[in-house]
Amino acid sequence: MATSITSVPDAGPVVGSRSFLQRLREGDEIARLITFLFAASVVLVTILLVYALWHDSVLARHKFGMAFFRTSLWDPIAEQFGALPFIYGTLVTAAVALFIAVPLGIGAAIFLAELAPARLSDTLEFFIDLLAAVPSVIYGVLGIFIVVPLMRLYIQPALKSTLGFLPMFKGPAYGVGFLTAGVVLAIMVIPFIISVSREVLMSVPRDQREAALGLGSTRWESTWKVVVPFARTGILGSIFLALARALGETMAVTMVIGNTPTISASLFSPGYSIAAVIANEFTEATGDLYLQALIELGLVLFLLTFILNGLARILIVATSQRGSGTSHA
């Protein structure tokens, strides 16, 4: 899901200076109309999507009401549906993924944009773009055959023996679960963070750096105190792009999360996510209420993405009001 909202293109200062017919003949108005339609279609698709999800989940919404968000029983036979474990699983795996991916991704982007020789930076960027284009099922396979055994045999026992006093690292280690799903998601979203953040960092004007260096700061000080804050908005954008991908990821998550609707403080515990349960159960869902409960889950996922994106916008506005790029240097 794209974080940017497409706005209607402004026709610019030309508007009003010529008659409508004139503009039409010269193609301006036609171009304006066509591009407007393209932009409007994005909004239209979103509205239709919400309408379809809302309309097709009416039975489930009426039957369960707010209890859908509060209860954790998911029993297709008894037709009792509660979404809480799935919401929990979606949020926890996305949080774990960002916890790992954000420092790694931004660190790598800073190196590529500021410190690495241009040639090395371009070569690495090629590989990063390649990683971003790998289908998610491939990451799932990688997860099953490499990450899960690594987790079960080495990482989880190591975490248990060192940080085992924390509730996060207690319980039996199966290899599959919240932590593994978070790690696989982190691997998947890091390329997004690196790629976008690197572009943003590289587009910071040269004079910002030169001014910082001129004032006597070191290379690292100019990077960390001037360039990174200047690019803050764009970097945040890359993080939210990564978050959106982590929330909606289906295939790779379902292959490594354990597919058990549980709410547990332990990251070793198997769990379930919204996207995974929809993918798993949709085709075999018999009975209207069951199907509608799954569609309502889709609505919940949409809502989660919407809320988190909204928070992201607010955060971006709030931080840029503190004078990003205006009062520095």
């Binding site: 297709p76 599959v176 292959m255 597919n259 058990t260 798993n280 159960e281 075999e284 018999t286």
Partner: protein, 342 residues
């Protein structure tokens, strides 16, 4: 110029011929379990009758039932028979009933991974129900060890694996557990997806067998055709006659023969825990769902013709793909029922 015109005319007439030949296209959707044999059947039948082309989407039993009820496909296919509610919904929507036709047989087998144990384990119904209810948590539990004298079973915690996606395989497995355990029946029930009391979920047969391979001291269940195709070792299950039976083509067919005597007229019957000393107890039919009335005469004849062929000559193709043949009395009864389609 003239030559080009001739070539074009020939090409066009050829195209028209092909188009007229392939004019009869029948679409179906449903179960994934019989997809390999259905694909083969449709292909072979197309070679026999060039004018009939059947397209099948293996979208899952639930989706198959939905699509045939909505009328978006000509026939459906399912691993678990439609329930009374679904039949009623169909009748109300179309004004006539939909018919079930068993096509082949399959089975579900328990598979496990216990380090150091290579013997083929015996499972009692009580042990399987206990394991999946979460009451039996260790391999050396008397309920398992009692049926496996001489096998050195470890005292480690067991990892239970089930299907995470809705599937006919889970339907058969839970149908069996419901028959042999009252507690399972009242607490969990049978269905393509259930609220599993314990265990990890794997997506598809490959997901379950992958988790079983990966986790020491684990148990899971997969389709017989999958286990056979991938050389996965599996256990024996105690049948209704008290014998431990290994699933194979003959023990699965035996289960159908055991149940065939009392097969109802609408063929909606579960053959899990079937009587007979040779019967493998976790076996199942898989069904085609065909509307009783098909207004398009050409389509009706083609679909009836295909079903008849699949039940007779087509049965000779099934064993090469590890499906079990239908017993003769069932085929005879089905051929009679085919006449109901008008």
């Amino acid at each position: 110029m003239k030559r080009i015109g001739t070539v074009l005319a020939v090409a066009l007439s050829l195209l028209l011929c092909v188009w007229a030949q392939g004019a009869l296209s029948i679409t179906g959707a449903g179960a994934t379990f019989p997809n390999p044999i259905y694909t083969k059947w449709f292909d072979e039948y197309h070679k026999l009758k060039g004018n009939v082309e059947i397209n099948y989407q293996s979208v899952g039993s639930g989706a198959g039932i939905r699509q045939v009820t909505d009328g978006t496909v000509d026939f459906g296919a399912t691993d678990g028979p439609m329930n009374d509610e679904q039949l009623k919904a169909y009748q109300e929507k179309h004004g006539f009933p939909i018919l079930h036709f068993p096509t082949v047989l399959g089975a579900v087998v328990p598979t496990y991974n216990i380090p150091g144990v290579t013997a083929s384990l015996n499972f009692t119904p009580e042990a399987l129900a206990g394991i999946y209810l979460g009451k039996i948590t260790k391999w050396n539990d008397p309920a398992i060890a009692g049926a496996n004298a001489g096998v050195n079973l470890p005292g480690n915690d067991m990892v239970v694996v089930h299907r995470s996606d809705g599937s006919g395989t889970s339907y058969v497995w839970t149908d069996y557990l419901s028959k042999v355990s009252d507690e399972w029946k009242s607490k969990v029930g049978k269905g393509t997806s259930v609220n599993w009391p314990v265990g990890l979920g794997g997506k598809g047969n490959e997901g379950v067998s992958g988790l079983v391979k990966e986790q020491p001291n684990s148990i899971g269940y997969v389709e017989l055709i999958y286990a056979a195709a991938n050389n996965i070792a599996y256990g024996n299950v105690k049948n209704a006659a008290g014998k431990f039976v290994k699933a194979n083509l003959s023990s699965v067919s035996a289960a159908a023969s055991g149940a065939a005597k009392e097969i109802p007229d609408d063929f909606r019957v579960s053959i899990t825990n079937a009587p007979g000393a040779q019967s493998y107890p976790i076996s199942t039919f898989t069904w085609l769902l065909i509307p009783e009335k098909i207004p398009d005469a050409a389509k009706r004849d083609a679909l009836k013709g295909f079903t008849k062929w699949a039940l007779t000559d087509g049965q000779n193709l099934v064993e090469s793909l590890q499906y079990a043949k239908l017993p003769k009395p069932v085929v005879a009864k089905e051929l009679k029922a085919l006449n109901q389609i008008q």
